[in-house]
């Protein structure tokens, strides 16, 4: 999974075709994160648009030496969404709190259910990654949410990532075997 540096350079030179390509590559992954954080489709759509506008406007500040392009984009999406939720929370606190609480019905959970190798992890590992990555909680908020000490929570994340890595390796191996067999 190497970044296409040529594509990113074009984006930094304000090539709208490059933006379109970047959108095709990452909009689904980013929308998955945003929608899981705010659990509100119409808001998530606005935030996704805002995210890509920011990616477009700030692309010159991205430095490939510091990390992958997706990590950088993910942080933008997460910050925009957290800010929007904070604003919304202030508004909602003046109205009816239950509106916000009722949002995560079981039906929505099914639609927003997690997929891929993440699903194969043990529930507490899965939950830990979900909280920090897809729900945008900080480690501090998340360990309280899960009701475990911060140190334990951090080790959850670490173990979860390790397991994830192993399962990706396994998948790669299987793909490699299939490719070898097809030759």
């Amino acid at each position: 999974m190497k970044d296409d540096l040529e594509l990113i350079r074009k984006l930094q030179n304000q090539d709208s075709y490059a933006l379109s390509k970047v959108y095709d590559l990452y909009s689904g992954a980013l929308y998955g994160v945003i929608l899981r954080m705010c659990k509100d489709e119409s808001l998530a759509q606005d935030l996704l648009q805002e995210t890509f506008m920011k990616i477009w406007q700030k692309s010159h500040t991205y430095n490939p030496d510091k990390g992958k392009f997706f990590t950088w984009s993910y942080r933008i999406a997460r910050n925009i969404t957290l800010n929007a939720l904070r604003k919304k929370n202030v508004l909602i606190q003046n109205e009816d709190l239950s509106v916000y609480k009722d949002r995560s019905t079981s039906e929505e959970k099914e639609i927003l259910g997690l997929d891929g190798s993440l699903k194969k992890l043990e529930p507490h590992h899965q939950r830990a990654l979900e909280l920090v990555y897809f729900n945008g909680l900080t480690h501090r908020e998340a360990h309280e949410e899960m009701d475990v000490p911060l140190g334990t929570f951090k080790s959850y994340i670490k173990q979860a990532l390790k397991k994830l890595r192993e399962s990706y390796k396994e998948e790669l191996l299987i793909v490699w075997i299939i490719i070898e067999m097809m030759r």
Partner: protein, 262 residues
């Protein structure tokens, strides 16, 4: 400054990746990463995993978002009025989308209908083809039959052909065969249909009597309408005997069932 293992253990890299850290902390981590190649690789793998996880959990956003973003990027002067324009664009987009969707539905339905029609036609074609083959086969059979019949008919329906009835004697009273003898073409054709059925190990055989000697004219195979027998010169009479299957060299005279003089 923290050492490599402490950094790995504290989970601060994860927090850095997620964007949880303050700007100061982030810069500190970035500086550490810049110095430490191994740690940078460790972080890069973590990034890969997180990206993979996000891609696996991707949700496709509605199409109009992309259109709106590209519109906005290509007409930056409109940014000031973005809210109004976006909502209008969205309406327009959803209107266009509705048209496209209904066209697509129409197309889908008509393709379905055409597909059905095509399948029906295909079925009819196959049936027709089978019928044609069937008819062709029947025609070939009929033609063969006709040719066969015509051959026999031509052979026996001639003025020089003598027709002889071989009636069964007391040994086989219900038997009768018809022999057609053509002395000019030296041909003998026999219609054995009237001969009584024999056991499986027996057969009828035909003989010509020449100067008191019986000469083989051939075995009369069962279930045939017309058989060509050997023509024997100067035969005085035609005789039919019952012989073991495969025929005999000499006639079993006791088993003579019919004879006729020429």
């Amino acid at each position: 400054m923290m050492d490599r293992n402490t950094i790995k253990d504290t989970g601060i890299l994860e927090q850095y990746l997620l964007g949880e850290l303050s700007e100061e902390q982030s810069i500190e981590i970035e500086n550490i990463l810049k110095e430490d190649k191994e740690l940078r690789e460790y972080f890069s793998k973590m990034e890969d995993d997180m990206e993979q996880m996000a891609l696996e959990n991707a949700i496709t956003p509605p199409v109009h978002i992309k259109t709106a973003i590209l519109n906005e990027v290509e007409n930056p002067s409109l940014i000031g009025k973005e809210k109004v324009i976006i909502s209008q664009a969205r309406k327009k987009v959803s209107y266009n989308f509705a048209i496209a969707a209904s066209l697509a539905t129409l197309f889908l339905l008509s393709s379905g209908w055409l597909y059905n029609q095509w399948k029906n036609t295909e079925r009819t074609m196959i049936t027709l083809q089978q019928e044609t083959n069937d008819l062709r086969n029947r025609l070939v059979n009929l033609e063969d039959n006709y040719k066969e019949t015509d051959k026999w008919y031509q052979a026996i329906n001639q003025p020089e052909v003598v027709q002889l009835i071989l009636k069964g004697n007391e040994k086989s009273p219900n038997s009768a065969a018809i022999a057609y003898v053509n002395h000019q073409n030296k041909e003998v054709i026999l219609n054995p249909k009237g001969l009584s059925k024999l056991k499986n190990d027996k057969t009828y055989q035909m003989w010509a009597d020449v100067d008191g000697e019986m000469i083989n004219m051939g075995v009369i195979s069962a279930n045939q309408e017309m058989i060509t027998m050997k023509y024997i010169e100067n035969a005085a009479s035609l005789n039919i005997t019952i012989e073991p299957v495969g025929g005999n060299d000499h006639p079993t005279v006791e088993q003579l069932i019919s004879n006729v003089y020429l």
